[in-house]
């Protein structure tokens, strides 16, 4: 799998994702600058964590206008795999690729800690090798990770099996403990926890590997 890691001004987990793919998974990742109109020949897109545009206005609200996002939308519409992590999730939501919004954490503070997540579906290219009900321990590091959507949207997400991960012990007030969701086509995943931070035994856990390994195994052949 060749992954493109999009770099927005203010992205700061871009290198971590790049390192996890290239060094820990022995795949191939390259950076894509935010004003690039095309994605090149990548098989998957990673929107990394960080503070794109300083989180000014609203997290992800400015990044969605970056030229590269038009290419990301097209790529997703064609069935390409797109994973947005943390700020990447916020950007996907702002860009309308995923429903809902991410609000300030319940206690209004930035939280960095390890959380337990239950994998809610194995029916996705991101979780097929992880397996339903598998508990993963991944770190979160965000100030605005409280997932919010109206009841109708939440019901729909659940009815369509599009909740990918739920917190075991909700750290931020997210509706229905949601930590990550899929789009209707199941090829776009947004999640607040950071799988790229736990792909190396030296980091104390390798619980993040399964998500990327699933992506490696499920890379669709796209007509380019």
């Amino acid at each position: 799998m060749k992954a493109g890691v999009v770099v927005f001004p203010g992205s700061n987990c871009d290198h971590d994702a790049w390192y996890a793919i290239n060094e820990n998974l022995k795949g191939h990742a390259e950076f894509i600058w935010h004003d690039s109109p095309t994605l090149g020949d990548v098989d998957a897109v990673i929107l990394p964590g960080g503070f794109s545009y300083g989180d000014y206005l609203r997290c992800g609200a400015i990044a969605r206008f970056s030229p590269v996002m038009a290419a990301v939308k097209k790529f997703a519409a064609d069935g390409g795999l797109v994973i947005g992590i943390c700020n990447g999730f916020q950007i996907l939501v702002e860009a309308g690729l995923l429903p809902g919004a991410l609000l300030r954490n319940r206690d209004l503070k930035f939280i960095c800690k390890e959380v337990g997540l239950r994998t809610e579906t194995s029916n996705s290219p991101f979780t097929s090798l992880v397996g339903k009900d598998t508990v993963l321990h991944l770190p979160i590091a965000h100030g605005e990770g409280c997932y919010f959507a109206d009841e109708h949207t939440l019901d729909e997400l659940e009815a369509e099996d599009r909740v990918a991960f739920r917190y075991l012990d909700n750290p931020n007030g997210s509706k229905r403990d949601i930590a990550g969701i899929l789009n209707k086509g199941r090829n776009v995943l947004g999640m607040m926890p950071h799988p790229e931070r736990v792909c190396d035994p030296l980091m104390g856990s390798i619980d993040g590997l399964g998500i990327f390994q699933s992506m490696f195994a499920n890379t669709p052949v796209l007509s380019k």
Binding site: N12, F51, D55, A141
Partner: protein, 736 residues
């Protein structure tokens, strides 16, 4: 404008200093020039009270690539890799405006690191506040949010630090921030201008009126009007700083940059005259070209502005466009505002007039140096005599609970969970560990770091207290298996014009010099923060040391017990105390509400042998866990080792007082859990270090006695609940 004695006083210059300015210039200065001198000769920028004593500190060693005098110190870490690191204070601004004061403190030290060409990979901070009260907790909350805001957005992990409380810091909190960055040796950049005719380029944020005269503010004690100084505090923009970092590192790779320096204290003034002075050249600047945020700024305001996120660089003539291109890519201003000249002067033009013309060395190197009187005994607020009777507690379980829940010793999780301590995926040991450890990707080396300060010890004996602090810092590193190799210091003291305060400073620096020589940790740079007084009340003398060590990249030795059934070894022995020494302990402060006497006795040779023994244990993989004894002594250290959930049952060979045995703070001790106690004792003995097995780890309970009486018998969960809940409770209760 006519220079009057009032104007001179307003700039915190003495008449003698003014006379020196006149003699250096050969004429009266202009108003603008007076402003320029006042910041460059301020205590904050010139170190005029401390410089002659700082020379006593060791600053050379086999790892040192760059010692004091540059933006940061640099050491080699093996191969062609180096790390740049320094500590800096932002004490005064953090009292006046906690959030922005702390945030810009982080911003300033990060620029010091990446201006050297090194990418920041770790931040640690040392904080001091008044004892928990509504006001002090408000300051703490603001400072923590400010550090989190800046570091998290910038993308540097805050991997450790310390936070302690004493009422002497109530009107003068301490915010000392340490940062460390990494690069290749041939990628280091220096702030030394050269090449006559080369362009001087301004990059980054626009200049506004914020922070004017901040360096002068940082060089005076506070009176009742402290809050009126809020306009002197700068406002930080970490997003801008992140762009500046990426753009600078990228621009450096073009090869077109000759020299670079950040605009920190005294902004444009200090960056230009210091770069010029180091290179022995002149700098000619046209202020009309400086990107400005506000209209109608005077030369005085632009020169003294401390607007954040700005850099000044000298590029190779003819290659400006290569530099501009990079900054354009990152959406940043980059403008040629001046030129390097051969006359050695800082020349400032504004609206067609020359507003200042001063020889660079006069500003950067000719600042007055004072040998301020220190012929008094160091100021001492605590008695020497122990109280007639030191009452023993009725119940040691509740005494220990009180200790682990005390402001100084309780968990600081509420603080560090607000920091991203993992970004860049290098953190092998983060907050809550004895030392923070980050790996350096692309090498097999990791960097261990510890920040330490102990105002209580230093208040009782500045020399011995400082030595103890250096020893503890090195012990923290040894505990994780690392070898300390260099250090940076932040000297926080009161008003140096008072001989009894100056005596504290001198004693402390001399103690630090002796200890740093002993432990082979040369000081490669740092910061001095004086005038930490409010309404005449000085802070406890608080030197803070940041030690950097090296280890092979591997999982560091953890500080908590791993499993039931492991032997617990006291490496270093039981240590010693007496009624006088016991007065310096956290126990005396917390349980008895008093401080007296002297700090513990330190044998530096023995201490070093303990470290060597510990590293040998780590190297052989014998230490399943290790945790050093410091504040709170044995009982607190063992309680802390239990917070992973595994307890221990221990028998202390002590026939003396239980309170002394449990809580005295004799140094040179580490509690180690191991599956191979015989081998551990053998290694200890080879190093001439006392060690014995004091018990065994067990399930979920901590028991300590001396074989005759049981002193402590308590569920681990009770200890860890108190430890974890103490700080959040205090914050929420005082806010209610």
């Amino acid at each position: 404008m006519k220079i009057t004695p009032e104007l001179i006083k307003l700039h915190q210059l003495t008449q003698g200093e003014y006379d020196k300015i006149v003699s250096l210039l050969g004429r009266e200065p202009s108003y603008t020039e007076l402003g320029v001198f006042s910041v460059m000769w301020s205590e904050h920028c010139s170190y005029k009270s401390s410089k002659i004593h700082l020379r006593k500190l060791p600053n050379e060693g086999k790892y040192v690539v760059q010692g004091p005098g540059e933006n940061a110190g640099v050491i080699g870490i093996g191969g062609d890799w180096v790390v740049a690191f320094k500590i800096e204070s932002h004490n005064h601004p953090s009292y006046i405006e906690p959030f922005q004061g702390a945030a810009t403190g982080v911003g300033g030290i990060l620029r010091d690191i990446f201006t050297m060409g090194a990418r920041p990979i770790a931040v640690l901070d040392s904080l001091r506040f008044g004892e928990p009260s509504s006001k002090n907790m408000h300051i703490l909350s603001g400072v923590v949010s400010g550090i989190a805001h800046y570091g998290n957005c910038f993308g540097v992990p805050t991997v450790g630090g310390e936070c302690k409380f004493d009422d002497s810091y109530a009107g003068n909190p301490l915010v000392n921030v340490f940062a460390l960055g990494v690069c290749k040796k041939d990628e280091i950049f220096y702030a030394k201008a050269s090449g006559i005719g080369n362009p001087v380029i301004y990059v980054g944020a626009k200049t506004g009126r914020d922070g004017i005269n901040g360096a002068v503010m940082a060089s005076a004690e506070f009176g009742a009007d402290a809050m009126q100084k809020r306009p002197n505090v700068q406002v930080g923009d970490p997003f801008m700083e992140k762009l500046l970092l990426e753009a600078c590192i990228e621009a450096m790779k073009t090869g077109a940059i000759v020299a670079i320096q950040d605009m920190g204290a005294a902004g444009l003034t200090s960056s230009s005259c210091e770069m010029g002075s180091r290179g022995g050249v002149g700098i000619d600047i046209d202020l009309d070209k400086v990107p400005q945020r506000e209209k109608g700024m005077t030369a005085y305001e632009m020169l003294l502005s401390e607007s954040q996120e700005r850099m000044l660089l000298v590029a190779e003539k003819g290659r400006e466009e290569e530099v501009f291109q990079v900054f354009r890519k990152w959406g940043l201003d980059a403008v040629t505002i001046g030129v390097v000249t051969d006359d050695g002067n800082l020349r400032i033009r504004h609206q067609g007039r020359i507003e200042a013309e001063i020889p660079n060395p006069a500003l950067a190197d000719e600042a007055p140096k004072y040998n301020r009187p220190y012929d008094a005994a160091p100021y001492r607020k605590f008695p020497m005599e122990a109280p007639a009777e030191i009452a023993e507690p009725a119940d040691y379980n509740s005494a220990l609970l009180k200790m682990v829940g005390s402001p100084d010793l309780c968990s600081k999780r509420w603080i560090w969970e607000q920091y991203d301590y993992q970004v860049r995926t290098n953190t092998l040991a983060g907050p809550g560990s004895d030392a923070a450890v980050v790996r350096v990707k692309g090498t097999d080396t990791s960097i261990a770091m510890s920040l330490d300060g102990n105002g209580r010890y230093c208040a009782l004996d500045p020399r011995e207290g400082t030595k103890l602090m250096v020893a503890e810092c090195c012990r923290n590193l040894a505990t994780t298996g690392a070898m300390p190799v260099a250090a940076t210091n932040n000297l926080n003291f009161g008003n140096p014009e008072r001989p009894e305060i100056m005596a504290q400073l001198v004693e402390s620096v001399e103690g630090m010099a002796e200890a740093c020589r002993h432990f082979d940790t040369p000081i490669t740079g740092g910061n001095v923060s004086l005038y930490n007084e409010t309404l005449g009340e000085a802070i406890l003398p608080t030197p803070v040391l940041g030690i950097v060590g090296l280890m092979k990249t591997a999982a560091p030795v953890p500080s908590t017990f791993r499993r039931e059934g492991a032997s617990v070894v006291m490496l270093g022995g039981m240590g010693k105390t007496d009624a006088t020494r016991f007065g310096s302990t956290q126990y005396a402060k917390t349980l008895l509400g008093q401080t007296w006497g002297l700090p513990p006795v330190l044998d530096m040779d023995y201490e070093k042998r303990v470290h060597d023994a510990m590293r040998a244990l780590a190297a052989e993989g014998l230490a399943e866990s290790a945790h050093d004894l410091s504040d709170g002594g044995l009982a607190v250290a063992v309680a802390e080792a239990c917070y992973g959930g595994v307890g221990a049952t221990l028998t202390i060979p002590s026939e003396g007082r239980a309170d002394f045995a449990l809580f005295h703070e004799g140094p040179s001790r580490i509690v180690v859990s191991t599956g191979s106690p015989e081998r551990v004792l053998e290694i200890a003995s080879q190093h001439g270090v006392e060690a014995f097995v004091i018990g065994v780890t067990m399930k979920a309970r901590l028991q300590i006695g001396n074989g005759m009486s049981s002193w402590i018998d308590i569920p681990v969960a009770d200890l860890s609940n108190r430890f974890e809940s103490a700080l959040p409770n205090r914050i929420h209760n005082t806010h209610a």
